[in-house]
């Protein structure tokens, strides 16, 4: 015990000295790193995260302006702080309140970043128009999902989750239909594991890797001469790793599809450019599937910063390619600020429970002991999500 105090003190002194040295550039948790590897390639290594919240699309009032003023950031943070802890639950005791129990305590909220939007191209910071075929596909998909809700309290109560649909006490005959494409989102039907959303099945982490409101937003890059690998923890308990193929060989044959695509990288000056194709039709990024094509650009912009830019292309979904940009900050190596073992799948009791409860509800109904399963909503969550000042 006696020996422990000086040790602690020594620790404090070391930290104090370190702070004096790096305080000009680095805030707590961050750590500067070299810009070039010992073997002369640009150095992208370390643990990187985004410390700020940035909306995907820019609010119209900012026009073509990419960055907020400092005053605007302070103002937005104030408005957002007021929403923290606000009760956004729907009526207590209702079906929808079960999901609403995931309150603002569960959601992480970070300070507003510099960028008015992740989207930097088109210049207005808004997603380009979708193609007519995608609009049709999305509308048909939505109509199907709404139809599965039509006999539930959600539609009867006029919830926004039923927007576009009307209540009908008779369960939809469409309940027996197979979807036109592989399901990736929640629906009010749990006939099979494939009816589950990718999130419920622990399959939702993927590219492009910006991370989200739940769970991690970390990536570790390790380089070797001629090689780059990235480990991701960017979603609720779902991690993955990728090895960038840097030998100039062409992409995989079209018959080989992967959840995380096929990454081919090259150095262009100080930028790592990665071309990603061969995505699986089971993966969905905003409607894009096997035709998704990403061009990622990774570039160091300072001792603690790394710029990540990704151009998203899929002519079957969008009328033009579009680009997002974000700056990541380098995290302390000793503190090892990344969680390597997001164990969504290893601890997934929720998903089999969803399936089992669906079977029990069917059994109860068949025995005349319960309501028709289609009259219960087992799909909707986060209704009544508050208005977001970053999207206003």
């Amino acid at each position: 015990m006696g020996a422990r105090v000086p040790k602690l003190l020594a620790g404090v002194i070391v930290v104090a000295v370190a702070v004096v040295i790096v305080v000009a550039v680095v805030t707590r948790g961050q750590e500067a790193g070299p810009l070039t590897t010992p073997w002369g390639e640009p150095d992208l290594q370390g643990i990187w995260t985004t410390e700020f919240d940035t909306p995907l699309q820019r609010a119209a009032r900012f026009g073509t302006r990419e960055l907020y003023t400092e005053e605007e950031r302070v103002q937005l943070d104030q408005e957002r702080a007021e929403l923290l802890g606000r009760d956004r639950r729907v009526e207590r005791g209702s079906e929808l309140d079960v999901a609403g129990a995931y309150g603002s305590v569960f959601m992480s909220m970070k300070r507003t970043g510099r960028r008015t939007s992740l989207v930097v191209d088109p210049p207005n910071g808004r997603l380009p128009d979708v193609t007519p075929e995608q609009r049709e596909r999305a509308a048909a998909d939505r109509a199907f999902r709404i139809d599965l809700l039509r006999s539930t309290q959600t539609c009867k109560s006029g919830s926004t989750a039923c927007a576009g649909g009307t209540y009908d006490a008779t369960p939809s005959p469409r309940r027996e239909e197979a979807l036109a494409r592989y399901n990736t989102a929640r629906m009010n039907r749990h006939f099979s594991p494939e009816d589950g959303s990718l999130g419920d099945r622990c399959l939702s982490g993927g590219l492009p890797g910006f991370g989200g409101a739940y769970g991690g937003n970390f990536r570790r890059i390790v380089q070797t001469p001629g090689g780059v690998s990235i480990f991701y923890d960017i979603d609720q308990g779902q991690a993955f790793q990728r090895n960038i193929v840097m030998n100039g060989r062409p992409h995989l044959p079209a018959t080989v599809r992967q959840w995380f695509g096929d990454s081919r990288g090259r150095w262009e000056g100080d930028t790592l450019v990665i071309d990603v194709t061969n995505f699986s039709p089971k993966w969905d990024y905003m409607g894009a599937r096997e035709n998704l094509h990403l061009i990622e650009k990774w570039r160091r912009t300072g001792p603690v910063t790394l710029e990540y830019e990704v151009t998203v292309e899929d002519p079957t979904v969008w009328t033009r390619p579009w680009t997002m940009r974000e700056e990541f900050t380098r995290q302390n190596e000793k503190e090892n600020r990344i969680y390597y073992e997001p164990r969504c799948h290893e601890g997934n009791y929720g998903f089999p429970s969803l399936l089992l409860s669906a079977r029990l509800a069917e059994k109860a109904y068949a025995e005349g002991k319960g309501p028709h399963p289609a009259t219960k909503d087992n799909a909707t969550d986060f209704v009544g999500v508050e208005d977001n000042p970053l999207a206003r």
């Binding site: 594991p193 570790r220 480990f231 992967q258 995380f260 100080d270």
Partner: protein, 317 residues
């Protein structure tokens, strides 16, 4: 400023290129790579064990399946394939091996642990975490029948595994321990001459060593030794300590081979959805397997012969 940086980068690249090519280079695997990284042997590339350790670390003869049942005889050697693997025929059997356990070839279990290991083997389908696509743990991930890729830097070495698309980082620099116990362990490395020595700790008790039910507790610590014996072969040796399960430390050893195909790259084996039918198939509204009793599993298989199948008809003559 940008220009100066670029000049520095180029100068560095030229310098590095010169030092690269005075040493042996290898074009196998992913990229042309130097034989050494900052003075250390370069383990970067795609590797795979080529043995039967994933079935059983210990010496064993071939058997009819990973799950077997008594046939006409009560003898252990006369057991026949059981329901879950019978449909796979000879592809479902377990190949023989001389084992990878060093010394007397025995795993020094305590008496209590040996009973658990036996029960694990008998309940393999329900208990083996590999079947559920859970994180495989170390050392198992090193000799599963899937490739893995090493990306070796100066302060960190990344191991990326095809199985479960998972990874571990070997820390060569100072690092804090993990916030909780782990499936893949906490790996801290150092150089002993040209040998990479990695101590792995902070495990949970949920991973196994193989498909034979060999297991450990959360007290497991590993000392791995990686030594290049040729540019394309690593001598891999692991000393396993776990005083709650074993009476003494024991060691396994095997070569790891470089995947030499010129177009080799690590392809993902994201088994989360691959394991779904196994884990949740019994919860389908219309089960694809009609009888299924998990824990411990009973599966009924109906053999459907296509009408007019000439081999079936021939056998029936």
């Amino acid at each position: 400023m940008r220009k100066m940086l670029l000049v520095a980068v180029l100068a560095g690249a030229v310098g590095a290129a010169v030092s690269m090519y005075v040493t042996r280079t290898t074009t196998s695997g992913q990229t042309t790579r130097p034989a050494r990284v900052e003075g250390r042997p370069n383990f970067s590339g795609i590797w795979q064990a080529n043995n039967e350790a994933h079935w059983d670390l210990q010496a064993h003869e071939a058997r009819a399946g990973a799950v077997t049942q008594e046939g006409a005889y009560p003898f252990e050697y006369a057991r026949v394939a059981a329901a879950p693997v019978v449909a796979l025929g000879a592809a479902g059997g377990v190949p023989a091996s001389l084992g990878v356990v060093q010394g007397d070839g025995q795993i020094p279990y305590t008496a209590e642990a040996l009973a658990i290991r036996k029960a694990n083997a008998e309940n393999w389908i329900d208990r083996d975490p590999e079947l559920k696509c859970y994180l495989p743990g170390i050392p198992r991930a090193m000799y599963m029948p899937y490739p893995f890729e090493i990306t070796q830097s100066t302060n960190k070495i990344h191991f990326g595994y095809a199985f479960a698309v998972t990874a571990r980082t070997v820390h060569l620099d100072e690092v804090d321990p993990p916030p909780a116990e782990t499936w893949m362990g906490h790996s801290v490395g150092r150089w002993d001459g040209d040998t990479l020595v990695v101590t792995v700790s902070d495990f949970n008790d949920k991973t196994w060593f193989d498909r034979a039910g060999n297991f450990h507790s959360e007290a497991l610590t590993l000392t791995e030794r990686f030594t290049l014996i040729t540019p394309d072969v690593i001598d891999y040796e692991v000393t396993i300590e776990d005083p709650k399960v074993f009476t003494r430390p024991w060691t396994i050893a095997m070569p790891l081979y470089r995947r030499l195909e010129p177009n080799m790259q690590l392809l993902e084996y994201r088994c989360t959805d691959i394991a779904e039918e196994f884990m949740y198939g019994n919860l389908r509204r219309k089960p694809l397997v009609t009888r299924w009793e998990g824990e411990t599993m009973i599966v009924d298989i109906t053999r459907k012969v296509p009408p007019g199948d000439r081999f079936y008809e021939w056998f029936r003559k």
